[in-house]
Symmetry: C2
């Protein structure tokens, strides 16, 4: 299964020439989701050759401007480019009011439906599920209500063993039931357990996005063992007190969380505009968690390392 993340913006607070504000596309086997939507996200969607209209499912971590100011333009362009399919936006409370106000005064009347799903949860909660993925929101520790998102592949169906189809003369209807997990009852009444008819499901891959947040071990149970953990690392550790005050992480703290959560790889993002070169932050993290990558705008990486 293909499971990729494309970085549209990896900068914090204000855009720089080479780092836009927070935004990513998560692609699970062709199903794409937008995660955060900083200003000019729609420009980055074009620059990275995404199909804008494929991004009908949007997850917003929190309502700070560098994570939402691209949303009016994106949703407006979807409308102007003829969208009719609905869009669903998950976010903390308040986004619906702001977007509806902005659309009202700008006389923007999308001809497609926008569903605002406002999350208010103190524990991890499944917010989205389809045939390809399951998304869980979980609280982070920021200055405003803020959620991380866990993206997991969904494997709703078993793969059937080809030889079983022949041996038990399975009809298409039988096959569907078996794929869904049922045992097979033969015409003579014999019951063949599902496990004999299907291949074991392979492990699902998982990606977790944590931005923005202070260092908090409350996320560990949720992100335990994910293949790729994306952590904000706004500052290097010499700014740890500033980070704590603003409820952000340092690169070192991100790495400490990655190590404690036994993740596969760590992806650093949300770099303060004070850093033109993020290699020192990368090296700081790698001193604790070697398998770390620094996000760059336009980068696509696989959630599961080969």
């Amino acid at each position: 299964m293909d499971f990729f993340v494309t970085i549209l913006g990896s900068g914090a607070a204000t855009p720089k020439r080479d780092r836009q504000c927070s935004s990513q596309v998560v692609n699970i086997n062709g199903f794409k989701m937008l995660v955060d939507c900083g200003e000019a996200a729609q420009h980055q969607v074009r620059a990275t050759h995404q199909r804008m209209q494929s991004l009908g499912t949007i997850f917003i971590s929190h309502l700070h401007g560098d994570h939402i100011f691209g949303l009016p333009g994106l949703l407006s362009s979807m409308h102007l480019c003829g969208r009719t399919e609905p869009v669903t936006v998950f976010s903390p409370r308040g986004l619906r009011e702001a977007m509806q106000t902005l659309f009202r005064i700008s006389n923007t009347v999308p001809q497609y439906e926008i569903n605002y799903v406002e999350i208010d949860a103190s524990e991890p909660v499944e917010v989205f599920r389809n045939a390809r993925c399951v998304v869980t929101a979980f609280p982070l520790d920021h200055s405003v209500p803020c959620y991380g998102y866990l993206f997991e592949e969904n494997q709703p169906f078993f793969n059937i063993r080809k030889e079983a189809i022949e041996r038990y003369a399975l009809s298409p209807a039988d096959i569907q039931l078996v794929k869904e997990g049922a045992d097979f009852r033969a015409p003579d009444g014999t019951v063949v357990p599902n496990g004999e008819l299907t291949l074991p499901k392979r492990p699902v891959h998982r990606y977790a996005y944590c931005c923005d947040t202070a260092y908090t071990e409350s996320i560990l149970p949720v992100v335990e063992g994910v293949d790729l953990l994306c952590m904000e690392s706004t500052f290097a550790n010499d700014f740890a007190s500033v980070a704590a005050e603003k409820r952000h992480c340092t690169a070192l703290q991100a790495a400490q969380l990655a190590r404690k959560a036994h993740v596969g790889r760590l992806l650093l993002t949300h770099f303060s505009a004070r850093y033109s070169d993020v290699v020192p932050l990368l090296e700081e993290a790698q001193s604790v968690f070697p398998d770390t990558i620094a996000a760059a705008d336009g980068m696509t990486l696989a959630v599961k390392a080969l």
Copy 2:
């Protein structure tokens, strides 16, 4: 006097890779004003090497998204970059409500003052004046309330003739009064008329911005004889009926207005995203008004041709 326009965005509705949404900087002898603020205007401010904090006076033509969706990010970045000087935003009614809602839900609390001046005028009205310029708003013909802006150099003071200072032994206080237009009363009671003491004022230069609007001759008295007329020209004339329906101009109509208003030069902008190449629109306008320029993002041009 220096009087320049820098194009930040010359596209309509949705951004293209080489055309951002509407935004310009008008610079009158170092005093800069932002005119419209489409998404990513702050990126274009950086790209054109403007000083963001110099743009504390902002004129918004109307509240369609392609003219305002860059405002939240720009005002937020001004705050994050330490601004303390107030900002004044002129616009039709509604912008204050939307911006204040967006700032409230995004917990953006600028440490500088933002004055929203909401214009509601059916006739041309002076909305701004300082020592360097005078700005008049005038109604356009669009699908929502929309204003054009006329930017005129201000010449509040006369230049004094150097020989007059010596001949009449003018004190600094006398000089100031004469510069302001007063006659000079000599100690012996003789009155020297101001015209004998000062040089004639040179003609002021004027720039008019009309975007968005359908063809309307109601603007002619205001823009009569301006040095540079910036007109929207969303479509070529084969789309005249679409233009009329959406209350936009064609390039031909823009040129017809320029000719009727006896302007110095015509600047076309706000090109529909359907046009990758705007030369046909330029040629269409030039068939009626030869001294026409097609705006391009990043271009700076003098209001008065040499």
